[in-house]
């Protein structure tokens, strides 16, 4: 259901493709080798539940309690890299400052309802991992709004949320995925009935603290105060030396005395 954008541009030339084969053979790809898992789930925009996106996560563990995922709009070779998600254990989530917690969403509903799954992996094997995912929290940004037909990654990063109860996910999105992968969310959900969410329950500050979230852009100084002072000092020293401008002396010396 999600739009597959046609990125503008000439198709890749043969020369380019050959270079890329050559370089891939020579170089080390440490972080990519850690990516071991494909998860399919749905995200919606944190300010707009009516905009929902099928999200293909390619995840690697940093350690037992943290995963980092690249999010694509499809599992195919021409998939667009549309965002990132970080997944952490409940223990790590509880160490987050309160101002940070709303940016993280729970996974309990997605896992227990069956809509979050590992394509191609048999149920019993999936469940060994997903029963852990059930207790985790995730933080997701999308940079490319392919669902509204964008051919390019335009605009600001978008905070995304995950499903938290029945009735949120569009039936047609769900059926499309079920049909494509030959699965039934309802059946899988029954198999996952034994799973439990976070030990201390879903934290009240998670999932936006129950509110929507929006990103906005703000212009700022591009250097912090100390660096600006240093910059002005450097300029003053230069001017003083270059133009023998003694009027600058008090200005320069105040930096050394204050």
């Amino acid at each position: 259901m999600s739009a597959h954008p046609n990125v503008p541009g000439e198709p890749t030339t043969t020369g380019t493709a050959l270079l890329e084969t050559a370089t891939a053979a020579i170089q080390g790809f440490g972080p990519l080798k850690r990516i071991h898992q494909h998860l399919c789930a749905f995200h919606f925009y944190a300010h707009d539940m009516t905009r929902q996106v099928e999200a293909h996560h390619f995840c690697g563990h940093q350690n037992e309690e943290m995963r980092q995922c690249l999010i694509y709009n499809s599992p195919e070779s021409d998939a667009r890299l549309i965002g990132v998600e970080y997944i952490i254990s409940e223990t790590l989530f509880l160490t987050l400052p309160d101002v940070e917690k709303p940016l993280w969403h729970s996974h309990e509903y997605e896992v227990k309802s069956g809509v979050l799954f590992m394509p191609g992996v048999p149920g019993p094997i999936q469940r060994q991992d997903l029963e852990k995912v059930c207790k985790t929290y995730g933080k997701t940004f999308h940079f490319w709004q392919t669902d509204r037909g964008d051919d390019l990654p335009l605009g600001l990063p978008q905070m995304m949320m995950s499903l938290t109860r029945d009735g949120q996910l569009y039936d047609e999105l769900a059926h499309d995925v079920e049909k494509r992968y030959g699965i039934s969310f309802a059946t899988e959900s029954e198999n996952r009935a034994y799973m439990k969410g976070p030990d201390q329950g879903i934290h009240p500050l998670a999932n936006g603290g129950g509110q929507g979230l929006n990103t906005s852009l703000r212009e700022v100084e591009c250097m912090p105060i100390q660096c600006r002072r240093w910059h002005r000092l450097n300029k003053a020293i230069f001017l003083q030396a270059h133009y023998h401008n003694e009027a600058l002396s008090p200005y320069v010396s105040q930096f050394f005395t204050s």
């Binding site: 503008p8 790809f29 972080p31 309690e65 890299l81 394509p119 992996v121 009735g167």
Partner: protein, 253 residues
């Protein structure tokens, strides 16, 4: 409100001797689960990341902060690349963001409000491949293989969101994504020599030699002034995340 230019992290979550990120090491059971899944799943988009390039980036809201980055690049078309960006190329590399790279043709067609979020690569290319300065280097790839690609990059523009500010000690990805800008030949954009040296030592390369070898690459005739917004305006950008009323189709949460 969470912002890209403010740190919410209390001392307990910042660096020190603790690992970044914190957390228990992986069990044998975990390793086996991973191996099992990996054998059953094709992971096609990951396999499309065919180049690894090393370069430097600067925070637009604080240009005193410069980081070494490792880009894993997928070519979508002759005019568009998408990159997963990590802070190192070893297996513990942290996923710190995403960069998109477009040709000048695509960039010129973007609206001005969009263009100001992008940065040019003309100088970085020199560095990068040092294409004049040699900052962007494909580690361990012979220069002869790399050059044809790099000349191409000189005329591109990039948009880079950093989602994990590990350089300021964040043990977990905190806050809003930060907009990054590229190295430039002028004051705030100059990369600190010690950063370049450290990269050179690690990969046994000489950035200055690479620069010399790329000196013949033509400079782009025109650089769109909307890109590298800080150069014309002296301002960077920060992202804020604020509560808002969510448009619903069902109760939440």
């Amino acid at each position: 409100m969470a912002s890209s230019d403010k740190s919410s992290a209390p001392a307990s979550t910042l660096g020190g001797d603790q690992p970044i990120p914190p957390g228990k090491t992986m069990s044998m059971e975990r390793h086996m689960l991973d191996k099992g899944a990996q054998m059953l799943q094709s992971l096609k988009p990951v396999k499309e990341m065919s180049q690894h390039a090393c370069t430097f980036a600067i925070y637009s809201h604080d240009m005193s902060r410069q980081i070494e980055t490792h880009h894993y690049v997928t070519r979508i078309s002759q005019d568009f690349l998408q990159c997963a960006v990590y802070d190192s190329d070893d297996s513990h590399g942290r996923l710190i963001g995403v960069e998109y790279i477009v040709s000048d043709v695509i960039f010129e067609a973007l609206p001005p409000e969009e263009q100001k979020l992008w940065h040019s690569h003309a100088y970085e290319n020199r560095l990068w491949a040092q294409i004049k300065s040699g900052l962007w280097v494909n580690p361990r790839v012979p220069e002869a293989v790399v050059k044809p690609e790099l000349e191409n990059l000189g005329k591109t523009y990039g948009k880079f969101w950093c989602t994990w500010q590990a350089d300021r000690g964040d043990r977990l990805p905190l806050g809003a994504p930060a907009l990054m800008v590229s190295p430039q030949a002028v004051n705030l954009g100059m990369v600190k020599p010690e950063l370049v040296q450290r990269r050179d030592d690690k990969y046994s390369i000489s950035t200055s030699a690479i620069q010399k070898s790329r000196v013949e690459f033509a400079e782009p005739e025109w650089l769109n002034p909307q890109a590298d917004y800080w150069k014309q305006h002296g301002k960077g950008f920060a992202i804020d995340i604020e509560p808002t009323e969510m448009k619903l189709r069902a109760p939440f949460p």
